[in-house]
Subunit: 115 residues, 6 copies
């Protein structure tokens, strides 16, 4: 697995475990909701992951972008589809999104190299 | 047409005309890009409008939300699909999104009553 | 009750009812969490409402500010305490918070006049 | 004076007076800083007002935009200069800035009609 | 002292000294206000630090979060109290706050290990 | 060239090349607009770069700040002028801007040491 991908996942898993062990009820429930929100419903998982990706991008949260990029990649979303979603995010969110777009693109390349 | 919908569209059209007549090159090109970004590509129009809706919602721009709600409605997106997208936006963006969700829901009801 | 207060509460109640009747699971659970998060725990209700107020103010959500101002007022928080919290919010969030501070102050005056 | 301009100034003056009378030290000092920051220094007043305008626009604070538009107009900044600044703000901040651009343009027209 | 804590404090001190030596009047006064705002008043220091923590968290400023976590820890705020405040911040600010929550939790652990 | 400056420019160039080679039309046009927006017009390049700097700072985008700092430096903007612009940004955007101000100051020092 690419370095960026592995590092991100390792830190994320380690800290999520600690947060869930901490037993704060509100935090635990938000984590739980976060899992439920992206399951199939009226919209399919692919669409929902793209929605999560764009929301994370316009709010400029690199870690959230990485998380949804990884899920998008697992769902079989193509690079072209991902880039169309990111293009919308960059247009809506403005040029301040561009540094996040650079990091997202680098992360996606690592995801593809893993295969 | 519902009052909220008509008022929004009238003001939007009037001011967009003035802005485009003003002849600032950057503003004109951004308006132009905004039209292009939501046309069919690797992703279909429905998906792109949902992406625009969620981006607008987490950035809490009521007018942008109204604009994309109207396009979503025209594209035949169901209330249930719209609400799943808005649920993701509320989860990602937090409870500060709720007042915008209330206004979005009211606007959607007017869009449905127009038919 | 002051006009601003009544108008805010009426619209809020009407639309919250509709949103909860809509039956989107994610939205319903977020509403539910929102009630739980401000109940007494390691921190008392007064402190939690001040936290909600400051979070809403720096994120510049007028409706969220109103909601927490009303709860702060019910909890017996004094105008001086409220203003110290709002002073911190204005310092952390910058001068763009000032227009929201003006509207918050006006709303608080109405809350006090109700008594 | 145009309606939008007069209404904005009246409410702003009334509430600022109340806030300053309230005697919260932090709020008073921030108001004081706000006056000092835009006086002539290494940069001239015109440039500083344009900086205030663009900062307010990308942070999407309509009232702050109006305040700086009024000062820009008083400083003799032309419509073309104002629009170039707003073009940069729209590019940096993205299409979510457009609704604020519409309202800014309308406010500027009223400022020009006052003469 | 934990590595994260020491690194953060060292860089912060070094650069703050430079910024204050630079003699920009506005920046100096904002630094000064920042010290005054968190001193005891109608609200006690503990409450004010929690307000600063939550404001920093919803605005997703890791360095500001670290600064207030350190002050909270010095004021004797318990982990449970800190986590209730962070739970409110995560709910109000949404799941994009979670990566900041992970880093905050890690920083708090280091603060506790210092003792 | 200073390390921070070189690292930033190298990564930025490498990833921009990849993004432009990717051929997403929306992204390419936004990059193109970004170049056009800062060329001389009714406002001169110096003023426009200061506007870009302040917009980037209040939106707290470190990479965008670095990019505009570098251009400001090339345009012969003095440290005092840069700091007045950053002072306005810190006042408008609040104390959450301070960590970005620290990093901006460090980057400017490297830009000056390059000469």
């Amino acid at each position: 697995m690419g370095n960026l991908v592995k590092e991100f996942n390792d830190y994320r898993s380690k800290m999520n475990e600690k947060l869930l062990a901490d037993n704060n009820k509100i935090v635990k429930r938000i984590f739980n909701l976060d899992t439920n929100a992206y399951t199939e419903g009226a919209l399919d998982v692919k669409t929902k992951e793209l929605l999560g990706l764009v929301a994370s991008t316009v709010l400029r949260c690199d870690d959230c972008v990485k998380y949804h990029l990884e899920n998008c990649h697992k769902e079989g979303i193509s690079k072209e589809e991902m880039m169309e979603a990111m293009g919308i995010a960059t247009l809506v969110g403005g040029t301040i999104v561009i540094p996040h777009l650079r990091r997202a693109y680098e992360f996606w390349e690592e995801l593809e190299n893993v295969e």
